[in-house]
């Protein structure tokens, strides 16, 4: 077997006394969609925060395509092709949709006087993206995030990940506040990302959503990965729920 895209080995993370991650292992292959499940406080968000450089790990190692990496900040992870959509969809409420979409990766235009942004391009791309995630078309791209509904905000965060097609896209509960139409948009986005050669980690509490798209299900409990090779095509929702709640130890499909 060749080196996977991502390999996390015996990764631990403590917040003071709380052991949020206890020697968790995870691999993600090329063009693979992983569904990461687990109850509240299982450590899912912490795992992907470590992987995206948002918090430093206490111990353990991370490899990208077999090369050991050490992320000091999210920019490091972004530079390695890891793009993340956080659970609390980290948007700047005062800024407009367009500005949030391109924050940190603003397209520039000539003349490069003081790095001016290419507003025309930004707006064009934004309109297109908003349509793709199914946000209603009457919201102009320069609306401030602060006046959007919870679901609309989530959609903006998704649109951002769509645009910056990275090797690995991590989505922490992206469908949480989404309605029926928007959810369909996200799920189809995940599928098309895989089809064009990207990998995804998809965290969600709605197991039905996970079952619809992922190639492989990973379950966490109390900071550890307790099952990492559940095939959604050969397992029932109920069986996975039992693994999540720990009612049947190590039951896999």
């Amino acid at each position: 077997m060749s080196e996977p895209l991502i390999r996390m080995e015996r990764v631990s993370k403590s917040y003071g006394q709380v052991k949020a991650l206890a020697e968790a292992n995870l691999t993600v292959g090329e063009s693979e969609i992983i569904g990461l499940l687990g109850d509240n406080g299982a450590g899912k968000s912490t795992l992907i925060k470590v992987l995206s450089g948002a918090v430093p790990l206490t111990s353990g190692e991370i490899f990208v395509r077999g090369r050991k990496v050490s992320f000091k900040s999210t920019s490091d992870a972004i530079a390695h092709g890891i793009e993340t959509i956080y659970q609390d969809s980290a948007l700047v409420t005062q800024l407009s949709i367009v500005r949030n979409l391109f924050l940190g990766r603003e397209p520039l235009r000539r003349p490069r006087f003081l790095n001016q942004m290419d507003h025309a391009k930004m707006e064009r791309v934004a309109r297109d993206l908003l349509k793709r995630v199914g946000i209603s078309k009457d919201i102009p791209p320069n609306t401030p995030i602060g006046s959007l509904s919870g679901g609309e905000r989530q959609s903006v965060a998704i649109a951002r990940a769509m645009y910056f097609e990275s090797d690995l896209i991590i989505l922490d509960e992206p469908t949480n506040n989404l309605g029926v139409a928007e959810t369909k948009g996200v799920l189809s986005f995940i599928r098309s990302a895989r089809d064009s050669g990207h990998s995804c980690i998809f965290i969600a509490h709605n197991i039905h959503h996970v079952f619809q798209v992922v190639d492989r299900i990973v379950v966490m409990r109390r900071g550890q990965v307790v099952a990492d090779d559940i095939d959604p095509r050969h397992t029932s929702v109920d069986a996975v729920e039992r693994v999540i709640t720990g009612m049947s130890e190590e039951e896999e499909g």
Binding site: A90, V92, L103, E106, L108, H119
Partner: protein, 327 residues
């Protein structure tokens, strides 16, 4: 593009201050006709643009969610340093000027370092820095004002604060510095990548960091900008008034912050407007000037300044509310 830029200028945030300014000028002009005399306008502008330079930089800094109480002390310190060096014969005036600017940049860098690396609130850091810099100025000069040889021939003083006459109307070169800075900084804030980063750093620093924005470097850079602009303003003021007093600039920090806030920039960061600041600068300085013209009793000066700030704020809030009606 041009059109959109103009449209941006007249966005809601600046409407309140603009109305305030117009009302203010109308009231004072109707009370005393000398108020809009050429002499008075020229007088008022001279000091206004010096404070304005600091306010422009402070706008960017406050948009990024920090503020700087040490600007007044740098305003006083830099010219004193420049003249001390030049008078001692150690260097030429031009070299002394650049040394003073460099030291100011260093002060800003230290502020930025304490705030971003040690995560100490900018209130405390810059309050401490205010005391240190003010103390340095006093200590270095033994408290004596520095001689400011009338430098009419030298090119640097001319460029910084030279006088020009347009008919009877006297303007100082500093007004071009102010206008130039306003245009450049307004452009930076609204049209460039850095401007986007500044707003994001103030609005939601965690989100900005998660997107790979270097929040710390952005803020530190703005602290440096703020100190350098204060030093520039202090030098200009010192050349214009031929005075270099170690204590000048005392209390400017609050006045400058008030200008920025009246202009519509949020005290809490994330939202800033250069056009608003230009209006805020004019509003406060014209108020100070107008009050003297209207002839309030000398000792009641502060009562009026304070009451008008409060009144304007009330009006401002009324206008805002009307604008956002229904929310």
């Amino acid at each position: 593009m041009k059109n959109r830029f103009l449209q941006g200028l007249l966005a809601k945030a600046e409407l309140g201050p603009l109305i305030l300014l117009i009302v203010e000028i109308a009231v004072f002009a109707s009370l005393n006709s000398d108020f809009i005399s050429i002499l008075n306008i020229s007088n008022t502008l001279a000091f206004t643009v010096e404070l304005g330079l600091i306010a422009l930089a402070m706008t960017l800094l406050m948009t990024s969610g920090e503020f700087d109480l040490s600007v007044g002390s740098v305003f006083g310190f830099s010219p004193v340093l420049m003249w001390t060096l030049a008078n001692s014969g150690a260097t030429s005036l031009v070299v002394a000027f650049f040394v003073a600017i460099l030291i100011a940049a260093l002060i800003g860098l230290i502020n930025g370092w304490f705030v971003t690396r040690l995560k100490i609130p900018s209130f405390l850091v810059t309050l401490g820095m205010l005391l240190v810099v003010r103390g340095l100025a006093l200590f270095m000069t033994n408290g004596f004002p520095q001689r400011t040889w009338s430098a009419s021939g030298a090119w640097l003083p001319r460029i910084l604060a030279g006088e020009f006459y347009i008919g009877d109307f006297r303007v100082y070169a500093s007004i071009f510095w102010f206008l130039g800075s306003a245009i450049v900084l307004g452009y930076v804030l609204t049209r460039t990548k850095i401007g986007n980063w500044i707003q994001a750093s103030g609005g939601n620093p965690n989100a900005a960091r998660a997107r790979g924005v270097n929040v710390n470097r952005t803020k530190a850079g703005l602290f440096v900008l703020c100190s350098v602009m204060s030093a520039l303003a202090g030098t200009i003021s010192s050349i214009r008034t031929s005075a270099a007093n170690p204590d000048s600039g005392t209390g400017y920090e609050l006045e400058v912050i008030a200008m920025v806030v009246i202009g519509g920039t949020a005290l809490t960061g994330g939202r800033g407007t250069i056009v608003g600041t230009v209006l805020g600068v004019l509003i406060l300085r014209i108020m100070r000037n107008g009050i003297v013209f209207v002839g309030v009793p000398g000792l009641a000066y502060n009562i009026f300044i304070g009451a008008i700030i409060l009144g304007m704020m009330a009006l401002h809030s009324g206008l805002e509310r009307r604008h956002n009606a229904g929310a």
